[in-house]
Symmetry: C2
Amino acid sequence: MKTKENYLKAMYMIVQEGKSISLSLLSEKMGVSIPTANSMVKRLDDMGLVKYRKYKPLELTPKGKKAAGRILRKHRIAEMYLVEQLGFSWEEVHDIAEEIEHIPSEKLFDKMDEALGFPETDPHGSPIPDKNGNMSSTCYAKLADMESGQTVRLCAIHKSDAPLLKFLNQKELKLGTIIKILHIEPFDKSMTVSYDDFSEVVLSNDVCVRLLVEVC
Amino acid sequence: MKTKENYLKAMYMIVQEGKSISLSLLSEKMGVSIPTANSMVKRLDDMGLVKYRKYKPLELTPKGKKAAGRILRKHRIAEMYLVEQLGFSWEEVHDIAEEIEHIPSEKLFDKMDEALGFPETDPHGSPIPDKNGNMSSTCYAKLADMESGQTVRLCAIHKSDAPLLKFLNQKELKLGTIIKILHIEPFDKSMTVSYDDFSEVVLSNDVCVRLLVEVC
DNA sequence: TTGAATGATTAGATTAAGCAAATATATAAA
DNA sequence: TTTATATATTTGCTTAATCTAATCATTCAA
Ligand SMILES: [Mn+2]
Ligand SMILES: [Mn+2]
Ligand SMILES: [Mn+2]
Ligand SMILES: [Mn+2]
């Protein structure tokens, strides 16, 4: 079941990113060849989790969407648990959660959820779906789209991966940090910002497009 | 790797029980057919984890023994963590630990171990191997082998399974309980014992052979 | 409207993990 | 010593998940 769960989750997240699910994109996200993904989606179709028609974009069925949402819930609860209860840093937890999410015990995740006080987001600010796999759609803005002079709160990291998260550690930027935009360089759209004890930090546009914020 | 790890652990535990590793016993413990176990041990031999010679009893190599001990360590740390930190009951944790033990993160188990204060045993009193897979050999006596009038401490459960553990819950017998043997029925070797607030509890021999105790 | 280019599909093979049926070996009983 | 029994092995087949190479379909640009 583990492999199929990972395919479903990948498809779910492609939809979340607003893209349509093609075999090439799916195979790329899954790190397998296109024929491999092709034969897998046929099997998922047989199981009623995916709608597959030759040469048409793939779709998750309601059943598939629900299954994927529940895996994502387990993944994000696990990540939060690893950070909050076991003292892991936010860049260390994804790979471990990638395994934990496949443990077939509802109760394990209920217990972790309870120990955490039923958090709404994972350590990277992404929302945790409910027990039915439904996820609330948060609509944060990108820091990159803000204007000079605005003050914002860092709420989530888009496509959080270890290199970005380590970079943010180094800059002491964490969720909840209040950031003031001092200047935007027109040439490369890099931003000079201040926050906490830092009075002049320059952030490239590559970074700013991945910092999701809320005006405050 | 998961399947192979389960085979190694099963072989390790057969040795612990003082038996020689036959394909029929191994296949029974693994819940697979004998030919399946046969082809698996050949592959484990290729990997240098098992010594396989046709028609001879199977052996774990030092490498195989170490690998098995390390999985057992992960299993028992996980069980202890589930009971102590997440509030599971001792009869619920085995199946979950059976999955957690295969997560390939040393650090996860180090963190759990640390949170627990480096326990020496799992929730059923079985010793936790060290990081090199070496397990201390505890030599408790069976309650069934004790004599009338003796007072003992319940230290571990032999072959702890959910039905036995639930029975012990019902009798409020837990590790550490001090038990006084009041009478042994010669006919069926059942014991009448007292402990805590219970002044006359009868335990069948089936139960007594699985309660490991220390005279105190 | 006809090609490329891109993307999807099929065909054929591999490896891990499993099974049942048939056969072979070892051992203990006669 | 022979035979019966238990155990082990081989053979041949299955399914899940993967690959490469070859072919097919769709679409967009000329
Ligand atoms: Mn993650
Ligand atoms: Mn996963
Ligand atoms: Mn166990
Ligand atoms: Mn296991």
